[in-house]
Every structure is written in C-alpha cells, then in structure tokens.
Symmetry: C2
Subunit: 261 residues, 2 copies
C-alpha cells in the first residue's frame, strides 16, 4: 500500500502567522502534514542561512481542522527550516514542500528578497517538488480564497510532479474566490525599487536610515506575474536557482580575455 | 572633460576584511573609489535586506596605495549597503559596482546564499554594471593574484559595459597569477549541499543544531564555473536576477488549470 503523501510546510512570516495556518488547513486531507517554520517573522531575509550560530527547533502546537499535526518552530531563516527539517525532523522524504501563504505579493524583483520563496527554492535544490504561495495584499487579510487556490495547485503538483530543480511561484490576487478569473502561466516581470531611505535623528542626535521605497514595474508584458495579478488571475511562474544569463554567454566569449597583457 | 569613473566597492566579509582591502587597492588609479561595506561579517545572508530596523553608516578610514578614499561602514547587509550608498552616500551615479574579494568560492548553488553576489546583483537591478569577485580558497589567504585579475576584468567592464540587468560572477582559482591558465566564460554548475546538522546539548542539556554539510557537484559539464576553477581558469559567469525557468513554461501551459472544478 502506498503511503500517504507527506507535505512539509514552511513560511517566512513565522509559525503563528495567519497565512501558514490557512495554508496548512487548506492541505488537510491531501496527505500527512508537518510544519517547520520560523519562530519569528523573517520577511526579506532572502536566501539567508545561519552558519555562525546554532539553531533550535521547538515542538509547537499546531492544529488543522481534522486535528493536531506535527510542527516545530525554528530559531532561524526559512532556508534553515527546510534544511533542518530535511536532515533531522521529517519522518520520511516529503512529496511536496510548500511555503506561505505570504502576507503580500512575491512578484517581479521581490522574488529575490523573499524568504517565502527561499524555503521552496531550498526544497527544489534538494530535488523535491515545491511551491511558494503569496496573497497579494500587503499585511495579509482573509486567506480563504488563497487557501482554496493553494489546495487546487498543490493537488496538481502532487499528481503531476515538477521537473527537478524547478519550483512554482504562485501569486494570488486579492479577490473573492469566485471573482478570480483563472490561472495564468507567467514570467517574472522586470522591475526595481526606487529607494528613498528615511533619514532621521535618534534621541542622541545620531543619524539613522530606514529603508523605504517605491516599486517600479519596468515591464509592460502581458505574460508577467505583475500583469496576471493586476488583472485578476492567479500567477503561476516556474522559477529555478540557475542564475546564468545564457543570452549573454556568446557576446562575452568575443571579448579579449588575455589578462596577461 | 569627462569625469573620472566612479567605482563603488562593497563585500560581505565586512569592511575590515583583507579581501575588500585588496580589491580597493587593485582599483587604485582606475577612477574615483568609494567603499560602502558592512561593519560586520555578513556571509551567507543571501539577498537579505533590513526592513524592520534602522541602519547606520559610519565614516571609516580606508586607504589604497595612492591615499585615503571615502568609505562608510554600514550596520546592515551587503544589499543594504548598495541601496543606501545609491540613495544617500555616493556623490554621483557609479560607473561600476564591484563586490568582494570574497574569502572563498561563490560557484554553483553557493551563488544564491552569497552576500558578495547580492551586493553586485543589487547594483545590476539598478542598471549599473557590476561584478562579484571571489577567491577560491576558504577563509581567504594571499589576494595578490585575485587583485590583479580583478583589475583586468574591471577595466574591461568599464570600457565595454554590460547589458542592463546582467552582472558578472567571477571566481579566481587559488594559484599564483602566472599559473592561472586564462579566463573561461561559464555557466553556473548544478549542485547541492548535503546537510548534516551537528546535534549537540547546551550546558542546560537542551538540544541545539549547527549547520554543516558537504558540497555535491551534480554537473560534469566542462563549461561550468566549478570546472573552470578546478582546472586553473578564472571563471566568468554572466548572471541575472530573472529566476523564470523559461524551459518549463510550455509544459505547464498544458496542465488543466480549471481551479473551479
């Protein structure tokens, strides 16, 4: 008899966030669930890993509608959570690793800053099908529609698998489920942040800076993640961790690389 | 009269690291230099940015052979350094942003964990030519050959520019300059880390874990970054921050995406 699928769940908003509670609840019945997530919020940590300090894993009470599931809160980053889970905490190799639901979009350049995406990326490096889910409302809100979408997409990946090394970055628009227009397969939009650090004085009259900025979409393509969610679609972007810019290889080959000149 | 090029220098090993001192010295005479680097070591922070706390920038004494250069130590990540420098610290838009020299390789999957690479990536997002330099000896050592290579490559990029959004990830083998076989244009090797967390007890008999692992190259290609440095070549990999796995778009389009079923 085939074992039930094992689904490992993580996030970057922390184990007590509404988004991960909704994600785990949405998976209820699809397989065995184990939650390994950061003890504290870890937004914008990118693919950070903890090398110079120890990490700890604390068993954590975590309920889905059908009952209690195994869960650990980890004193580390999302990537740490997946690495530690795979080495020490899971009872067997997971069939699927999912991350989220993030309290805000992870489209365009935001992907590279995202701890939510990094947890899923870490799983894909280890050869496990993985999905990052984000709800496109800053600060979160009602995850009901996002949970239903996540369940639908998780079922498809459990059935169809993914090419090793490729994961799905899913962004769900801020709409009631019945108003979502469907799923669009997209690419990452080109974009940047225009920084404007707040410059202030502390109570001791010393200057400090606080990061803020404006998101600038540089991409008018109708097949991008940004376009999809702005137009009411769920965006599904296949991503990977091969950063090679293949298009640039040929022209660079033509440069003069004689460094002994 | 055209202004001298402005070269912004950062790293992840911290402003006092031997690698960034060597890199700045190697640029001496190529243009005006400004150093904006982390106050403390920030290895393996990936593309983390600091959003929930302020950051500070402290003027820092920093010498290259021809004299003193402007420098700031920042209480943040490499990506923070570049963002803050661009918004508040540089006198004009830099012509080149370079990061390193990293004390250890940034080949294969290590790219995604690397703070050194993230500083250069941040610049490329902002449309500035950027290069990350790494010396392929863990913990660093004699940066003389790496500095000479860095100068050669920086001169070429100052002259030829780079396609916007593309940066160079350069790995320099641990060899005397005269023994380096040349430059190879490469792609990122497929690889992973096989984690084995050390599991220990603290003085209060509580369990903690400490990340360690073994690097596993999964890629026998002779055009990879790993192959190049193992065979005595400088590896130059064009990379970008578009994580879209274009090869997967078509097959995903063929799935049944009717989520209302």
């Amino acid at each position: 008899m085939k074992e039930r699928p094992l689904i490992l769940i993580s996030n970057d908003d922390g184990i007590e966030a509404a988004g991960i509670l909704s994600l785990a609840a949405a998976m209820d019945g699809l397989g065995d669930i184990i939650v390994v997530a950061p003890l504290h919020e870890q937004s914008a940590v990118g693919h950070a890993i903890t090398m110079r300090d120890p990490v700890r894993a604390r068993p954590w009470p975590f309920r889905v509608p059908s009952g209690q599931v195994t869960a650990f809160a980890v004193t580390g980053t999302p990537a740490d959570c997946v690495k530690l889970a795979m080495d020490k905490l899971v009872p067997r190799k997971p069939d699927l690793v999912i991350s989220g639901i993030n309290h805000g979009p992870n489209t365009a350049v935001n992907i590279i800053y995202s701890g939510t995406v990094s947890a899923a990326t870490e799983a894909s490096i280890l050869g496990i099908p993985a999905i990052a889910f984000s709800y496109c409302k800053w600060g979160g809100g009602d995850f009901e529609a996002s949970g239903r979408v996540a369940r639908q997409i998780a079922q498809r990946v459990l059935k169809g698998g993914l090419t090793p090394g490729i994961l799905l970055n899913v962004n769900i628009p801020d709409l009631p489920f019945d108003d979502i227009k469907g799923v669009m397969i997209t690419r990452q939009a080109r974009s940047k942040w225009e920084e404007s650090f707040a410059e202030r004085k502390d109570p001791y009259n010393r200057t400090y800076y606080w990061l803020s900025g404006t998101f600038v979409n540089l991409d008018t393509g109708e097949n991008t993640d940004v376009f999809a969610v702005e137009n009411g679609f769920v965006s599904v972007t296949p991503i990977h961790h091969d950063l090679t810019a293949y298009s640039a290889l040929d022209s660079l080959e033509k440069w003069n690389w004689d460094i002994t000149e």
